[in-house]
C-alpha cells in the first residue's frame, strides 16, 4: 500500500519529490484511524494520571466524559468555540487557532470558525432581543387592531352596470 502510493506520487509528478517525502513519512509512522481511538475509561488514579499525560494535560485539568457517553478516556475540555479564541495570539496553526499538541475537543468539528460558536457572548441578552421582537410585532398588531374601526375608502358609490336597473346622469333630459 505505502509503496504503491509512493510510486504513484513519483510517477504522476516526477518533480514532486518533496511531496513524496511527506507521504513516505506518514506511511512509515503508520497513522491509521484505529490508532486515534481513545483508551478505556480510567477508573483508578493511576489510570487517570496516565490518561492525562497521554493527552498532554495536568491531572487537575484532566476530566473524562461520563462513562455512558462512550468517549473512553478522552478528556472533557472546556466548550470554547474557535471564534471565541483570541485572534491576536500567535498560534502555531493560526487558521485553526490551535497550538502544537494541544488536545482537540471531542466535538471540535462543530466548533470551527465556519460553523458554530458554543461560547459566543451575544451582543444583546436574550430578554432584550425578545423584548424588541415582541414590542415591534405586538405593537404593530395592537395598532392594527386599534385602527380596525377607523378604516375608510374612496368616496364613490358602487360601480354602475346596465343590468342593475336604470341609472341617471346629473343633467336634464
Amino acid at each position: 500500500m505505502a509503496s504503491a502510493l509512493i510510486r504513484k506520487a513519483l510517477i504522476s509528478n516526477p518533480n514532486g519529490f518533496r511531496k513524496a517525502i511527506g507521504l513516505f513519512y506518514n506511511a512509515n509512522r503508520n497513522h491509521w484511524n484505529y490508532q486515534y481511538k481513545p483508551g478505556p475509561y480510567p477508573r483508578t488514579p493511576e489510570e487517570r494520571a496516565a490518561a492525562a499525560k497521554k493527552y498532554g494535560l495536568t491531572i487537575e485539568e484532566y476530566q473524562p466524559y461520563p462513562e455512558d457517553m462512550c468517549y473512553g478516556d478522552y478528556p472533557r475540555l472546556p466548550d470554547i468555540g474557535t471564534d471565541s479564541k483570541d485572534p491576536y495570539y500567535p498560534y502555531d496553526y493560526p487558521d485553526l487557532k490551535r497550538n502544537f499538541n494541544e488536545p482537540i475537543h471531542a466535538r471540535q468539528e462543530i466548533f470551527g470558525e465556519d460553523r458554530y460558536d458554543i461560547s459566543m457572548r451575544p451582543r444583546f441578552p436574550l430578554w432584550y432581543q425578545w423584548m424588541w421582537f415582541l414590542g415591534v410585532v405586538g405593537g404593530s398588531f395592537a395598532l392594527y387592531l386599534f385602527l380596525e374601526d377607523y378604516k375608510f375608502g374612496r368616496p364613490v358609490t358602487a360601480k354602475q352596470y346596465p343590468q342593475e336597473g336604470p341609472h341617471y346622469l346629473f343633467c336634464a333630459k
Binding site: 375608510f152 375608502g153 374612496r154 368616496p155 364613490v156 358609490t157 358602487a158 360601480k159 354602475q160 352596470y161 346596465p162 336604470p166 341609472h167 341617471y168 346622469l169 346629473f170 343633467c171 336634464a172 333630459k173
Partner: protein, 118 residues
C-alpha cells in the same frame, strides 16, 4: 386630503365606499334627470369576449378600442385615440359615482336634520 376627510365623515351617516344609493333618483332635483343608456349590445360584448366586469356603460368605447387593436396589431400606437376615449369615459363614470356618493351623503344628512327637528 379633502376627499379622504369627505369619505371619513360619511361614516357619521353610515355611508361607506361602494355602497348603493338608497334615495329616489329624482330627490332634490328640479328637473328630470337623463337616464344613462347602454350603447354596446350584450351579444357584441360576449362575441368580443369582454369580461363581465368591463361590460359597463363605457363598453362601446372598449369595443372600438379592441377592434382597433385587432386591426392594427402590432402597431398599437395607432389606437391611442380610441384608448384615450375609453379612459376618458371611465373617468367620467368614476366622477359620476363620486357625485352619487356626495348626493347620497347630503340627502342622508338632510334627512337626519329633518327627523331631528320633527
Amino acid at each position: 386630503m379633502g376627499q379622504i376627510l369627505g369619505s371619513y365623515n360619511a361614516r357619521n351617516v353610515d355611508l361607506y365606499m361602494d355602497d348603493k344609493p338608497t334615495f329616489n333618483h329624482q330627490d332634490g332635483f328640479s328637473f328630470e334627470r337623463k337616464q344613462r343608456e347602454m350603447i354596446a349590445r350584450e351579444e357584441d360584448l360576449i362575441s368580443a369576449r369582454i369580461p363581465p366586469v368591463k361590460r359597463d356603460y363605457c363598453a362601446h368605447y372598449l369595443l372600438e378600442y379592441q377592434q382597433c387593436r385587432y386591426k392594427n396589431m402590432p402597431m398599437l400606437y395607432r389606437c391611442a385615440h380610441e384608448k384615450h376615449d375609453y379612459l376618458n369615459c371611465e373617468q367620467q363614470d368614476y366622477v359620476l359615482r363620486m357625485k352619487e356618493f356626495e348626493r347620497e351623503r347630503r340627502l342622508r344628512v338632510r334627512e337626519r336634520r329633518l327627523v331631528g327637528v320633527a
